[in-house]
Amino acid sequence: MLLLDWLYVGVFAVVGLGMAALPLAIVWALAPRAPYPQKRLTYESGVVPFGQAWAQFNVRYYLFGLVFVIFDVEVIYLYPWAIVFQRLGKFAFVEMLIFLVILLLGLAYAWRKGALEWA
C-alpha cells in the first residue's frame, strides 16, 4: 500500500515535469529566435547594466535562514507528538511542554540578540 501511494507521487512528479516542459518545447519550436546583443542585456529599469550581479554583503539573510532551519527542525518532533499525544496521556504533554519552553527560549534569545531585526 505504502509503495502504491508513493508510486502515484513519483508518477505525478514525472508527468508534472513533462507537462510543464511541454509548453516550453512548443515555444522552442514555434517562437522566433532573433537574439541581438541589446535585447539580451539584463533589464535594469532602462539603465545600461553595470557591475556584476552581486548582492551587497549582509548577514541578515543568513540569520533568518539559520533561525528558520533551527525551528523547522523543531517541527520534526512536533508532528509525531501531535499524532500520538492523545493516546499517551499527560506525561507526553509535559515532555512536549519542556521541549517547547526550551525552544521558545531560543526564539527569545534570537529576538533579543537582534537576529530577527531586518535593519
Binding site: 501511494d5 508513493w6 508527468v15 509548453p23 537574439p35 523547522d72 512536533l78 499527560k90 530577527l116
Partner: protein, 321 residues
C-alpha cells in the same frame, strides 16, 4: 498487484489533474482575479475576447506560446530553464493529498499534511534558483527577499498544521475531514490556527499584502524580472496552483472539506474553496502592501509565538478535558 495497470492509472490521473489545474487554476483563476478586481474597483474586467471576456486567458496563453524566449547574457541557461519547472511542479504536486470527496482523492498519503508542507518548501528552492540564474542584480535581490519571506511564513503554517493534526489525531487529510465530522468544523475549535494559516498562506503565495518582492514599486519585478513569455507563465502557473492548493487545504483542514447537508460532496468542496479564493482575491484590493521588515516582524514576532502558544493551549485543553 499489477504494477503496469497502476502506473497507467497514475499517469492518466496525473494528466487529468494537471489539465484541470492548468485550465481551472491558472487560466480561470487569472480571469477571476481580473474580474473580481474590476468589480471591486467598480470597473469591468476583461470583456472583449469572447462572451463576457471568458476567452481572455486562452487568448493570453496562445500569445504566450509564440513569444520569443530571451535568455539574458551570461545567464546560467540550464538553471534558468529548470527554475520555473521546479516552481510549477512543486505547485502542482500539492494536489495529490487534497480530498475533493470521500473517495475523490488522488492518494490519501498517511503523512498528507507533512507532504503538503514539504512541497511548499520546495518552491523556495525554485525561486532562489530563478533569482540567481538570471544574472541580474535586481532579480538576485528579489529572489533573496522573496525566499526569506516565504521561509519565514512556513513556520506559522507548520504550527497551524500541527494544531489541527493534534485535534484530529492523524496527518492524513481524509482522516482530518472525518475527524471534523464528529467534532464539528475546526474553524470553530481552532479559530486562531485558522487565522494564522490564512495569513501564512497569503504570504506563502506572495499575494498582496505580502507581495513586496515583486511589487511594481519595488525591485523591478523581483525574481522573475528576466523571465519572458512561457517561462514567466510557468511561474504564474505554479503560484496560482499553489494559491488554489492553499485555499483547498484551508477548506480541508478548517471548513470540513467535502461535508455538507444536501449538495453532493464535490460541489460543497468547490464552493468552500472558491469562497476562500474570493477572500484571497478580495484582500488583494483592500490592503496596502507591507514593508519587508514589518512583514518579517509580523511572522517572527507575532505569528510564530502565537502559533506555538496555541499548540500548547490545544494540548492542555485536550489532555486535561
Amino acid at each position: 498487484m499489477n504494477w503496469g495497470l497502476e502506473i497507467a492509472k497514475a499517469v492518466g490521473l496525473a494528466v487529468v489533474m494537471f489539465t484541470f489545474l492548468a485550465v481551472v487554476g491558472a487560466m480561470f483563476g487569472v480571469l477571476l482575479e481580473r474580474k473580481i478586481g474590476g468589480w471591486i474597483q467598480s470597473r469591468l474586467g476583461p470583456k472583449h475576447v469572447g462572451p463576457q471576456g471568458l476567452l481572455q486567458t486562452i487568448a493570453d496563453t496562445v500569445k504566450l506560446l509564440q513569444k520569443e524566449h530571451i535568455t539574458p547574457r551570461a545567464a546560467d541557461v540550464a538553471i534558468f530553464n529548470t527554475a520555473p519547472l521546479i516552481v510549477a511542479v512543486a505547485g502542482l504536486m500539492d494536489w495529490i493529498v487534497i480530498p475533493f470527496g470521500p473517495t475523490l482523492i488522488v492518494r490519501d498519503l498517511n503523512i498528507g499534511v507533512l507532504f503538503f508542507a514539504a512541497m511548499a518548501s520546495l518552491t523556495v528552492v525554485g525561486i532562489l534558483a530563478g533569482g540567481f540564474a538570471s544574472n541580474n542584480k535586481y532579480s538576485l535581490l528579489g529572489g533573496l527577499r522573496s525566499a526569506s519571506q516565504m521561509i519565514s511564513y512556513e513556520l506559522p503554517m507548520a504550527a497551524a498544521f500541527i494544531a489541527v493534526a493534534m485535534q484530529a489525531g492523524t496527518l492524513s487529510t481524509v482522516g482530518i475531514v472525518n475527524a471534523q465530522a464528529q467534532r464539528g468544523w475546526f474553524v470553530l475549535w481552532q479559530f486562531p490556527a485558522f487565522v494564522i494559516f490564512l495569513i501564512a498562506a497569503t504570504a506563502e503565495v506572495n499575494r498582496v499584502p505580502f507581495d513586496l518582492p515583486e511589487a511594481e514599486s519595488e525591485l523591478v519585478a523581483g525574481y522573475f524580472s528576466e523571465y519572458t513569455g512561457m517561462r514567466f507563465a510557468l511561474f504564474q502557473l505554479g503560484e496560482y496552483a499553489e494559491m488554489f492548493g492553499m485555499a483547498a487545504m484551508a477548506t480541508t483542514l478548517f471548513l470540513g472539506g467535502w461535508r455538507g447537508p444536501l449538495l453532493p460532496p464535490i460541489i460543497w468542496f468547490l464552493l468552500k474553496m472558491y469562497l476562500i479564493v474570493f477572500f484571497l482575491m478580495w484582500m488583494r484590493w483592500t490592503y496596502p502592501r507591507l514593508r519587508l521588515d514589518h512583514l518579517l516582524n509580523l511572522s517572527w514576532k507575532l505569528l510564530l509565538p502565537a502559533g506555538l502558544i496555541w499548540i500548547l493551549i490545544t494540548g492542555f485543553v485536550i489532555t486535561f478535558f
